[in-house]
């Protein structure tokens, strides 16, 4: 330790508290949650809140219950909801944000005002946004009354109360669907590797894809994880929540895109024009490719927001509306209303894994590029 200089000592000393706090309150608690999710704490009501509860190790039983248990239909619907919500939320924010940014990039009159206006919703918390939009999406008022301004009959769409779903699929087909999707991705990888003349990689991915497809064709259809078919789909009531979420966050993507657009040197655009590119062609071949890193970071930030969303749904549709529910809401209710701590911890762990799937590749690429710069 004698190699450490005074400065080094100081830096270690100053960092130590944060490192310790992080270790305990972030990683320690993650570990504790994962541990709890592997026990049966709370499955027996008599033990849930006892002074010295008897907690037994049950392995992955809670996870199995969530994905195949008869009583956990709600959780499975929530997973499907989350996926649809995430896709539409990200597409909506990116599309609207990019559109607004392109408009503002043309230097309209009062640009500063517009920018503030579009960015303003972000300063609200989701709970405020949710309350406002709940009023506007009332079945008997708000948006449904809008057509009456033009003398038309009021709308009757159940923005938050609809119980209809579209694009339904049977949960029993989930292994099959997953296998097909993964196989298709592998095929795509193989084709790409082939084009890059990377023989070994192409062969490996091709083989894996063939194996998976074979499984999906011959074994998959016979796999039954549930005794009866169980349909899940995109519940129309989610549309209202997606609108509110997009309203809140698209200003933020606009700001990101606007910064990106302003960062593109004028010379590049001029060069494209000189080379005879049309306005559309210039955007397609010059501007959009330069914006792709921004799209990636926006997707990651929006993605993790949408996976762990809780307050917006709570405020707009209430905690007990299973048609619009999300896993974070279920985690709260399971743990703190039903006292099923282990099951709640399992839902939390699944959420953590989902968020990690989104965040970790981003962190990796970020670290890599930092190392590259150093």
């Amino acid at each position: 330790m004698k190699g450490l200089s005074r400065d080094r000592w100081w830096s270690v000393l100053v960092l130590l508290p944060s490192v310790l706090l992080l270790a305990v309150f972030v990683y320690g608690f993650i570990g504790r949650t994962i541990y709890v999710s592997l026990t049966d704490w709370g499955n027996d009501p008599a033990q849930a809140l006892a002074a010295t509860p008897i907690i037994r190790w049950v392995g992955l039983a809670n996870y199995q219950d969530l994905f195949t248990g008869f009583l956990q239909v709600r959780f499975r619907q929530e997973l499907v909801n989350t996926i649809f919500f995430t896709v539409f939320f990200i597409l909506g924010c990116l599309g609207l944000g990019l559109g607004l940014a392109l408009l503002l990039d043309r230097n309209p009159k009062g640009e500063g005002l517009w920018r503030t206006l579009f960015l303003f919703p972000m300063s609200l918390s989701f709970i405020v946004t949710g309350t406002i939009w709940r009023w506007m999406l009332q079945p008997q008022g708000g948006l449904n009354q809008f057509p009456t301004v033009f003398g038309l009959p009021p709308g009757s769409f159940g923005w938050l109360s609809s119980t209809d779903a579209i694009w339904q699929f049977d949960w029993n087909k989930l292994p099959l669907l997953t296998a097909v999707v993964v196989a298709l991705v592998l095929v795509w990888l193989a084709v790409r590797a082939l084009r890059a003349a990377d023989r070994a990689r192409a062969v490996i991915s091709g083989l894996c894809a063939a194996l998976l497809l074979g499984w999906a064709l011959f074994v998959g259809p016979n796999v039954k994880i549930l005794p009866a078919p169980e349909l899940h789909g995109f519940n129309l009531a989610l549309i209202g929540i997606i609108i509110a979420a997009v309203w809140q966050m698209s200003g933020y993507t606009m700001a990101l895109y606007l910064a990106g657009l302003r960062g593109i040197p004028e010379e590049l655009r001029e060069a494209a024009r000189v080379d005879g590119a049309s306005e559309v062609g210039m955007y397609r071949h010059v501007v959009f490719p330069l914006l792709s890193p921004i799209t990636l970071s926006a997707m990651i930030i929006l993605g993790h927001i949408s996976l762990k969303i809780f307050d917006l749904v709570y405020a707009m549709a209430g905690p007990d509306n299973t048609y619009t529910s999300v896993p974070a809401l279920n985690m709260y209710l399971t743990s703190f209303r039903q006292n099923q701590f282990a099951l709640g911890a399992a839902i939390g762990t699944i959420l953590l894994i989902l968020v990690a799937v989104v965040i970790v590749p981003y962190l990796r690429s970020a670290f890599r590029s930092e190392e590259g710069h150093a």
């Binding site: 499955n43 027996d44 009501p45 008599a46 033990q47 849930a48 809140l49 006892a50 002074a51 008869f70 009583l71 239909v73 709600r74 999406l137 009332q138 079945p139 008997q140 159940g158 923005w159 938050l160 109360s161 119980t163 779903a165 009866a228 009531a237 549709a317 209430g318 905690p319 007990d320 509306n321 299973t322 048609y323 209710l333 703190f336 209303r337 039903q338 006292n339 099923q340």
Partner: protein, 410 residues
Amino acid sequence: MKKVVLMAALALSSTASAAGKLEIFSWWSGDEGPALEALLKLYKQKYPNVTVDNATVSGGAGTNAKAVLKTRMLGGTPPDSFQVHAGQELIGTWVVAGRMEDLSGLFQSEGWNKVFPRDVIELLSARGGIWSVPVNVHRSNVMWYNPAKLKAWGVTPPKTWNEFLTTCAKLKAKGVAAPLVVGENWTQQHLWENVMVGTLGAQGWKDLWAGKLKFTDPKVLAGFTTFGKVLDCTNKDASGLSWQQAADRIADGTSAFNVMGDWAAGYFTTTKKLKPGTGFGWTTAPGTSGTFVMLADSFGLPKGAKNRTEAINWLKLLGSKQGQDTFNPLKGSIAARLDSDLSRYNTYSKSAAADWKKSRIVGSMVHGAVAPESFTSAFGAIIDQFVASRNAQAAAAAAQQLASRAGIGK
């Protein structure tokens, strides 16, 4: 040195508490605040040396309060006495965990076993003890209607659920899109409960929660089927409506009937300024005349309460005739005691109090009397599924599995 000061401070504070302190934990705020204030005032008159700390955590039906309570109980600093829905909501959560004190001694010494109906004592009892003191009673099997509109449509309030279905068809033929109005999830559970009590009868309902009647029994399945048919008479936008918004549709005549607890009477008279009997009418939910489906707010005594004597005095006040007659007219509920002074109550409450004395009393599921929260909370998902699929078999099987998990009938 610092340690000594700290010890001294601690010693001081504990002597202060010996001089009299009491912490009351509830979710009564807003409309219900004045009723609680009146009780606390009465307590201070009787025990002037005690400082009362009114720890209210606001939020509908106590959702927030229950979360705070859980933290405090698990953290080892329970309030001296806390509000809870009487029955399994307390028993299934805190009594089974061994964290409450048995109050049967108090019931004996205060003579409460005689003044509270036997059915109520039964609901409060489990594992050989009585666990909380009910301060009020609400009735949940009431069907509300708009008398003027019913006359115009030419129908009368139905007496059974089958009769209701005929009335519903008649109303639909007259262009009423949704003869029965329901709101968000818990009001749908509320409706389910009323359909079940109406089809199973009081005894069948009791057996269901005692574990003697399985959810998969043909009788319960038939109840689910009836519930499905009743749902066909309801509005499509249910999950977006609060119970007040649902009640509004009775007042404005878009729907004919609404099944809701008797807190709706307060809403109709106080908020909507309607006259009982002419502006709004009521009867027991179909098939439940002679049955009083009850829920009650009650207070219990957690183990390890810091000011046990003061808390017991508080419970004595809650159970007393004076306490109940001070609280209930303001809260809009009726006294759990059979000897209350009816002249203090309004028109609706008088009729409910009369029924209270002569009806068969059973507990409400959705309001925590017969099922623990772990059941009620997860049951909402089963109802939602049933609303979408109308599969009685699947709903009954799921409910049975949930009941075994929640330890119902143990």
